[in-house]
Symmetry: C2
Subunit: 207 residues, 2 copies
């Protein structure tokens, strides 16, 4: 790879990185190309040289982020001896990787407002499905190990995903330490909530 290609790639990454920060901070619509121009020092034209459109730039970021998350999880997963440890590791990575899904909110916004290319819609639906499967698998693991009360893993996966999403929302103004503590506590509640040896029934509304 020669000097020019290298430079070009760096520029593309610089744009992507700046755009990512802006989308996370301000949301999709509220981030203008002009904002990205200011943050990078590149020109408008150059952004459109590297990316097809604002939508294309966003899509690029979404895919990159999802890929990176998976990558990092794979590196860590084997290090956790038990499912419980995995859960806490999961929570930690959610925080460390920029408070869960820093782009999810923008993605969500994007996804509502734009009349969809359906390429985008499909990709996002796929992403959510992958997350739910991921969660479900983790929960099933704990059930198989006898640590969790056997029940509908599908709902639990949605609840876990919702919890993570909600926590990211709640801790937007927190420090890293606070966020880590909060996620840790939340996972603890969740784990006690699905633990194998439940205390006596609490609801007159049970299944």
């Amino acid at each position: 790879m020669n000097k020019k290609q290298l430079q070009s790639e760096q520029t593309k990454k610089k744009i992507a990185h700046a755009a990512r920060n802006l989308f996370v901070q301000k949301g999709y619509k509220a981030t203008s190309i002009e904002d990205i121009v200011e943050a990078t020092g590149s020109s408008k034209g150059n952004i459109y040289y590297h990316f097809k459109s604002k939508e294309g730039l966003f899509l690029y970021l979404i895919e990159e982020w999802d890929y990176d998350w998976d990558q990092k999880w794979r590196e860590k997963e084997s290090l956790y001896p038990t499912t419980i440890d995995k859960f806490f590791g999961f929570a930690e990575q959610m925080v460390l990787e920029d408070l869960n899904h820093p782009l999810t909110k923008s993605a969500d916004e994007f996804f509502k407002s734009e009349e969809q290319t359906s390429e985008m819609e499909e990709r996002i639906t796929d992403m959510v499905q992958r997350h739910l499967q991921f969660n479900q698998q983790l929960i099933q693991e704990g059930i198989d190990a006898g640590q969790f009360h056997a029940q509908d893993t599908n709902s639990l996966a949605v609840i876990l995903e919702g919890l993570m999403f909600g926590l990211s929302h709640m801790s937007r103004k927190s420090s890293l330490q606070e966020a880590l503590a909060l996620y840790h506590d939340a996972i603890k509640v969740f784990l006690y909530g699905i633990a194998a040896n439940r205390p006596e029934d609490q609801s007159n509304n049970e299944e």
Copy 2:
């Protein structure tokens, strides 16, 4: 109240109602005044006759919604015999009252993008604080009744708020029945998670 005033009030409500639906569906930025014009049949000028600005209209909706929620809760609260029942009632109202905070997401978006009037920022911060206090009180009640494990009610309030917010996100495409079931399950997990008689310790990471 004469005919004209009545008519005027109805128009204002019609605008508010249509705007609310649009903000919930599309978000703050993505909803244009033109959209509201189309949805109501009123003219642009008329919207600006009834509301100071787009921001003012949104603020009006936020306050109305928060007030209504409280109102409805007060009607129901005394009907629940135990704290546990209150929690399930809480979850139910979250769903029935338009899936938790239908405007929270728009509010959040609004709140990020706009350079704040600080009137708005203050009001939203207050609102979140009120919710957290509400949650904390509910949890404290359960602890006092000996039903919940005594612990940091502050974090738990945040976790509950996050869970509710996340669930509303997850069930945007669900039916009412599915949402009710999901929220019910989630509250059950949460209650087991903070129940008084915990199973043996699960984490090597305890406080």
